[in-house]
């Protein structure tokens, strides 16, 4: 191999000594035995052995790359990708309008960012998706498991129990009309205990724990191969108040974004991140924009922004590589994330004071 030494991941001290001893390319070193190398260069025998092992490993993986056919390199034709996309599942949100604008639901193998003001429903959507990802395949789901990384402490188990029960009831209604073996069997496995046991919860208190957890995720995912959804609820919070150094923050966030994308691709799962909103002063006007700056806007593939307009919640698909920009209304019922009610719901409060947010009247399931 004619590859130069500088391009190998050797430790800097060893590399400097090798170059000083006159070795320029990998080929020169591979001919030499470890003990001879150590004597000539002035490094320990263990270091020499490690160097040779690194070089050999790198050269082996290089060869297939040169030959042009490799399992390791991810090369597809657009046709193969098209077939893959057709068979790929979506994670439904139970709000048909939202599923429609997303093209079927939250797509797998992509990172989706959900931004919104506090209280608009980002965590509700995350909890809903953690339940929905487990819907069996015969009911149109992906039958996967979920990882929930919580940085804000807003995960409420009781709420997930309510959502899961509502989902189970909903599926029972559907199964009632189908009556076949497959559906009945799938329903047996879809119990509250199973649903809750397949949501893996991590509570990170600051950005260091978040970075550590994301670093360890690939190992975790290899052990839990059925995970199809990774949720990071609150990617903004740990980075907004503890970090004074903005360049460090940008670097860490970009690294995180890259890791998320590679996780989504390697393990074929969907990644959801929730973000906060911040005010931007623009020509004496205060605008609400997603937090973490302009460069973070490039991180996620798909961006959803939730906002209020009078008493109705709206979701806007702001950025997507394949779907059109659009806005739809939605609501959050006791059963979870749902389509907005068609008729105007009456306010529950008797006060005449203006309240922007009122719970929709409880409707029977």
């Amino acid at each position: 191999m004619q590859r130069e030494l500088v391009s190998f991941p050797l430790s800097p001290a060893v590399r400097v000594k090798l170059v000083a001893a006159g070795f320029q390319t990998a080929e020169d070193i591979l001919e030499v035995k470890p003990s001879e190398l150590s004597k000539e260069v002035g490094i320990s025998k263990e270091e020499a052995l490690e160097t040779l092992q690194i070089l050999r490993r790198e050269c082996l993986t290089d060869k297939p790359r040169c030959a042009g056919t490799s399992v390791a390199s991810k090369k597809y034709t657009a046709l193969e990708l098209l077939e893959q996309e057709h068979t790929q599942g979506f994670i439904i949100t139970f709000c048909s309008a939202l599923d429609n604008i997303l093209g079927g639901g939250i797509p797998l193998m992509k990172t989706t960012e959900v931004c919104g003001v506090p209280g608009v429903g980002k965590t509700q959507l995350c909890m809903q998706l953690a339940v929905d990802v487990q819907i069996p395949e015969c009911f149109g789901g992906v039958a996967g498991e979920a990882v929930f990384i919580d940085t804000e402490g807003s995960f409420m188990v009781d709420r997930v129990v309510t959502l899961a029960n509502a989902c189970i009831q909903h599926l029972h209604l559907i199964a009632g009309t189908h009556m076949d073996e497959e559906h009945q069997k799938a329903l047996e496995g879809f119990t509250l205990e199973n649903i809750l046991s397949h949501i893996y919860y991590f509570r990170c208190h600051d950005y260091t724990e978040l970075l550590a957890q994301v670093y360890l995720l690939p190992d975790f995912l290899s052990n839990h191969s059925k995970v199809q959804l990774v949720i990071i609820d609150g990617i903004a919070l740990p980075f907004r108040h503890d970090l004074d150094d903005l360049s460090l923050r940008t670097r860490l966030l970009n690294g995180l974004a890259q890791q998320m994308i590679s996780l989504a691709n390697d393990h074929r799962l969907a990644v959801i991140l929730t973000n906060q909103m911040t005010t931007k002063i623009d020509k004496n006007q205060a605008l609400l924009v997603p937090a973490l700056g302009e460069s973070w806007g490039h991180a996620a593939t798909i961006r959803l922004i939730f906002h209020w307009e009078q008493k109705q919640r709206f979701a806007t698909l702001y950025k997507s590589p394949s779907q059109k920009e659009s806005t739809i209304p939605f609501q959050i019922t006791p059963q979870g994330f749902r389509d907005a009610a068609v008729t105007a719901s009456s306010s529950q409060t008797s006060s005449s004071n203006l309240r922007k947010r009122s719970r929709e009247p409880e409707e029977g399931c």
């Binding site: 929930f148 804000e152 997930v160 260091t208 907004r240 860490l252 605008l287």
Partner: protein
């Protein structure tokens, strides 16, 4: 966890010394560097650096729990999940009362009864569990000097005349409420940081901060550009401290906030009374950002209660009778 010193992670002394020469002492410093920088600093190969990263990540990453385990733990816990407010409509709206392990914010116009509410909750927290209390002590951080012990005793006496039938019991109850008067942001922060030890040593079951807004508004003028950042930092630090205490010790934490008036559109005569977290109109100036940051701390864990008092009703000697509850 992020402050864990690298020495305790299992690094060799030599490596620790080498790293400390570059000011890398704990996990936070280590994980903030890129692999290339780490290679330069430690003198190891790429594989070696990844092994170190793995060790450090293992040391500070959180434990995994399934949602099922969380649920089981909650139902097995001896302590109650809510502190009932004894106002049936409010309890129903909150699904049980003030939630333990969460922050609850009470907001309203001046004079509507926020401090009275806090005093009532203090009495309730000291009651034994068979009466709906938490049987513990209360930490009351008062930034407005609005707390009066006489009123506390009056509420207790009139509300529970059968229980507080002797002078002794009243005095005992009042000795369980620990009042801290803090009048500056710095003092509040210091008090919150030292709260953990107090909670453990005195068996505290309720923390009240009345109010968070007054110190902030006194010290940070939102018109000055640099102040917004400082104010945000302070609010965020405060919120994360309180959240940590609430979660760690399963305490209810009650905060009171003030409101700001927002004049909507071209109708200056009709002022919408809106809570700071509600105000989303673009006509507001730089004041928006910090309120949003505070509000964004209040994700589901923090439940916002807006008490808009019908001004014709007087707060009786028993505390509160009926309230119009508008919640979100």
């Amino acid at each position: 966890m992020s402050n864990k010193k690298l020495r305790r992670v299992g690094f060799s002394q030599e490596l620790c010394d080498r790293l400390s020469r570059h000011q890398i002492v704990n996990c936070q410093d280590f994980l903030g560097l890129s692999p290339l920088e780490l290679m330069k600093v430690t003198g190891l190969s790429y594989g070696g650096v990844h092994e170190l990263l793995y060790m450090v990540s293992r040391a500070c990453a959180p434990q995994m729990q399934t949602a099922y385990e969380l649920k089981m733990r909650r139902s097995n816990e001896q302590s109650p999940a809510f502190l009932s407010t004894t106002l049936s409509a409010l309890d129903e709206a909150l699904h049980g009362g003030v939630a333990c392990g969460s922050l609850t914010e009470i907001t309203g116009p001046p004079g509507c009864g926020k401090t009275q509410f806090c005093m009532m909750m203090s009495v309730l927290a000291t009651l034994p569990t068979n009466m709906g209390g938490l049987e513990g002590t209360v930490v009351y951080v008062d930034t407005e000097s609005a707390f009066t012990a006489e009123r506390l005793v009056e509420i207790a006496e009139c509300r529970f005349p059968l229980y507080f039938n002797t002078e002794e019991k009243l005095l005992l109850m009042s000795s369980k409420v620990h009042l801290h008067r803090e009048l500056s942001c710095e003092a509040v922060l210091q008090r919150l940081e030292s709260l953990e030890e107090e909670i453990i040593s005195k068996g505290v079951k309720l923390v009240i901060v009345d109010s968070i807004a007054s110190v902030v508004r006194k010290e940070f003028d939102p018109q000055l550009q640099g102040n917004i950042k400082e104010r945000n930092k302070f609010l965020a630090k405060q919120a994360s401290l309180l959240k940590y205490l609430a979660e760690e010790f399963s305490l209810p934490v009650i905060l009171t906030n003030q409101i700001t008036t927002h004049l909507s559109g071209a109708l200056p005569s009709q002022a919408d009374l809106v809570s700071p977290t509600d105000d989303l109109s673009p006509s507001e100036g730089p004041g928006r950002k910090q309120d949003l940051l505070w509000a964004s701390q209040s994700e589901y864990l923090k439940i916002l209660i807006l008490l808009i008092l019908n001004l014709s009703r007087k707060v009786g000697s028993k505390g509160f009778h009926e309230w119009e509850v508008i919640y979100h």
